[in-house]
Symmetry: C2
């Protein structure tokens, strides 16, 4: 492991619990090793004496007691697990263990976070419908699983560019993103000090880290796509593999003959990696080294247990280009490559669009599953319309919830700055929280066993005017409370049986509670009781001379 | 018309064009009257010499030249149309004219805004699948049509409460909401000076105004639901009808026997009107006057051409309560009432939920259409999850886009303050823009003939690095430009062929354009050309001795 070097890098990161939550650890026995795994949870204690345990991605940073030293990096949680393990047929990948019927500690850990049986994780990884993206050189990360039969995951992109940002900012963005729920983080740096930025990020990351190695390779050759070569690329991949990158985007599906298919598009090629490879293919008039050397790449990935994220270099960048020939031609090639990688016991995810109108979303999932053997789908949004720059976290959350419901396993977030600028810290939070709610909406629709309890706990708190519980159960407690404070800042409002929307006389929930109390007192809580009462009233009506509308005073 | 009284009310409202847009008017001949209608459009002029005309809801406030006097109210656009018209069978409703085969100027105006044939508007109104909500006492409003075969519409709620807000604030909120695209506005005031607030709003509103008369009726009886009566309610409806309210929410489907169906709900009754009527029914142990006097109400609505918005008083307020017996029992009653109203030639919309998980949304539309004769569905969101207070404009936009795609005709916006506080001016804008993008996503998915051209114009501007055109075409040009300025404020960046996300070397769009130019120069723009080139390379390869990877230097 490269020692962290602090010559002019002094990151400070956000620590401490989220308001109303405390970090707890669920002890999980691993019979194979005799160890007890400590699986993190965010426990929200409620004022009615109950609590709810939520999935936690934030690592030791939200512990009450843990001391965090970003210069030392996080504790090496998996170091012993990795050291203890014998390769299977030369492979150290989760896929190889899963196929051999072995439940690794990583599978057990991930299963406990999901609240599912460890065998279901093993089985899904074995058939390639789920992945556990964990490089053996990233022992700091807490294991998690990505697959359509588990909770929908969210990735946050960070990274500097030639135009802005520093190492310290990016480390804090990583910690900040996981604080609000990012399940993985991609470092997409293309600016200065790429290697050093990544080292700081990986050593301090409690979640899997992804990269797009072609970006750093392009930097190494001075930014000219035609100057790229397999050798430069391979060395870059190994450099990043040694650092512990858990999954890598590889745009190996951009074939030379697909490039003309983009010629009449409204927005051409919008993937950076895709456009770089298209330029290379055309300049050399041959297939890219990512495609021709794919089996060699598999061998490198196998040695570290890096997961492929096969990039959609030809994804649509506008509604006009959605589901076109270029996009699906590449998807077919990604399907071929998926099966090649699986033959090497290497795990695979498939990246997806982009910009897709609502009625074309389902087809993306159907084709991906059919062509790529149900490898976990990992989509960017998609944006359901192009007309709202500044609000593309929302246009894309609409598409993201929809595609995740249909089976996408991980969603790459989009921030409000999409298409306009680089996200700052606030944008990262907005993007992550927006995508967590989209992912959760899909979990509900898919009927994940533990999804509904969170909604029910919050709605129960809302109905019972437990305002603080409502804030604490929110995905973003700080914003929820700040918005309440904006209208009713005084302390008594936090226990009031109404709120500012309606005021005391117009509070439907208060009236409902009055209605329930009245009905209980009068024995009118069931349909039968009501109907009996109606018969009595009907008799009264007949006795009263048949006037339809009795004076209200009576 | 009540004269506007300014004793301590001095509203100032936002005027002037949206950046990059100019108000134009499409002249449309109305053969019946010999008049030429002036149909407003928002014209966005582009730097490539083209322009695009967008639907405009903002009234004279965004005209370059119009002088606005909120004390005088807006010009009475429809005054002559209304005066000229003879009743049909005693009715002055758009439904009555439509059934008689008459294309009113309102239908022609609305059709021109949609870009459709006026006959299609008449036909949809005649069968009740669309409504034109225009009280004959609100001649200031610009006609528009609500129905599943037209553009999806957005309503913005405003209104004071006992806790906050003034008349001046509410008038500005109305103007502000229509500026950003609200197609109708509901005044839900429950605080002081309800009548006066509404008068200012209606006289200055270029869009239809909706209310919930039971709120004001409840104020009149001191806030005790049991003290309400038909007489108080009827007088309130007539008072509001005279002011020009275009549509009214009536919770006539809350029957006494449905109240116990809500007893085991997580969040009981969350509709204010629903809880008020449930309290009344239970206290009096009989059906509400809204139900028993419904035909009398129809006669009042018929005299003014007020549109019913039949309220879903028992809508679910949480994921747990979605699609339950209480909700659908009430919907069946709303269906009965729809047919009663139609018998009086009164127009009807049906209000819908609320909180519904994604997989239960389609059923809401299917049942509404089946039970209520395809009356336009008008839904509040729905929110696709309960766990994100502070972000409920987004949780609900996810559900709104989905339900609108399935056939909902109008979406009631939700602001970020939902469940937490009263929306301020910024929240109103965020809510409207969020809902406009959700509505547009649905228009795209439904294949509305004019929807795609907006997306294509924006994406084309994006691909061609026409930054200013991109801002001007955005739903919210101000925010789009502000976000770009945040990273690259300098003037040259507005014409730069890259942006801050990637920097110049990593700009996929720039590389794509290079690729296209290169391909055109070398004659490699088609698949055939590429394949011919591949055959040549293949021959070269054989000649070169069969080495697979030639040195890149060559």
């Amino acid at each position: 492991m490269t020692a962290l070097d602090d010559h002019d890098v002094r990151p400070t990161v956000t620590t401490g619990p989220i308001p109303g939550s405390a970090k707890t650890h669920l002890p999980v026995d691993d019979p194979a090793s005799g160890r007890t795994l400590r699986v993190p949870q965010r426990r929200v204690g409620l004022s009615d004496g109950t609590h709810i345990d939520l999935y936690d991605t934030s690592g030791p940073y939200t512990d009450d007691t843990a001391s965090v030293d970003v210069h030392a990096g996080l504790p090496r949680l998996r170091a012993d697990w990795i050291a203890d393990r014998a390769p299977i047929g030369g492979a150290v990948t989760q896929a190889a263990y899963a196929k051999a019927g072995v439940i690794t500690p990583e599978m057990r850990f991930a299963a406990a976070r999901e609240g599912v049986d460890p065998e279901s994780v093993r089985s899904e990884v074995a058939i390639g419908r789920a992945v556990i993206p964990l490089n053996r050189c990233h022992p700091e990360a807490e294991p998690m699983v990505i697959g359509k039969n588990f909770l929908v995951k969210v990735n946050a992109n960070i990274g500097n560019s030639a135009v802005t940002s520093s190492v310290a900012e990016e480390v804090e963005k990583m910690v900040w993103a996981t604080r609000w729920g990012a399940d993985t983080v991609m470092d997409l740096s293309t600016g200065k000090r790429i290697h050093e930025t990544r080292e700081w990020i990986v050593r301090n990351a409690p979640v899997p880290i992804g990269t797009v190695p072609i970006y750093q390779a392009l930097e190494k050759v001075g930014g000219d796509p035609a100057a790229l070569s397999w050798e430069v690329y391979r060395d870059t991949v190994i450099e990043q593999a040694e650092q512990g990158v858990d999954y890598m985007t590889v745009h190996a599906g951009v074939l030379l003959r697909y490039v003309p298919l983009t010629a009449r598009r409204v927005t051409g090629i919008v993937s950076r990696g895709g456009s770089i490879m298209a330029a290379w293919c055309l300049a050399h008039h041959r297939e890219s080294f990512l495609y021709t050397r794919f089996e060699e790449l598999c061998e490198i990935f196998r040695a570290y247990d890096i997961t492929f994220s096969l990039g959609d270099g030809l994804r649509p960048g506008s509604i006009a280009d959605a589901n076109d020939e270029a996009q699906f031609a590449e998807l077919r090639t990604l399907g071929e490559l998926t099966h090649v990688a699986r033959g090497h016991d290497v795990q695979v995810m498939i990246e997806g669009p982009g910009h897709v109108p609502l009625h074309k979303i389902a087809e993306n999932v159907r084709l991906e599953e059919e062509l790529c053997g149900e490898a976990p789908f990992y989509t960017l949004g998609p944006l359901a319309t192009d007309i709202a720059p500044g609000y593309d976290h929302i246009t894309s959350a609409i598409g993201a919830a929809q595609i995740a419901w249909h089976g996408t396993a991980m969603l790459c977030y989009v921030t409000p700055k999409e298409h306009l600028g680089l996200p700052d810290r606030d944008d990262v939070k907005t993007g992550v929280v927006t995508y967590k709610l989209a992912a959760h909406a899909a979990d509900l629709a898919k009927g994940h066993p533990r999804a509904r309890e969170w909604d029910d706990a919050l709605s129960k708190a809302r109905f019972e005017f437990r305002w603080r519980d409502q804030f604490h159960l929110a995905l973003d407690p700080e914003t929820a409370q700040a918005y309440h404070d904006a209208t009713l800042p005084a302390e008594p409002a936090k226990t009031a049986h109404f709120c500012s929307m309606c005021g005391p006389k117009f509070c439907s929930m208060k009236i409902t509670q009055d209605v329930r109390r009245y009905a209980a007192e009068k024995g009118l809580s069931t349909v039968a009781a009501i109907e009996e009462g109606m018969r009595d009233k009907s008799a009264e009506f007949a006795d009263g001379g048949g006037r339809v509308y009795l004076p209200l005073a009576e």
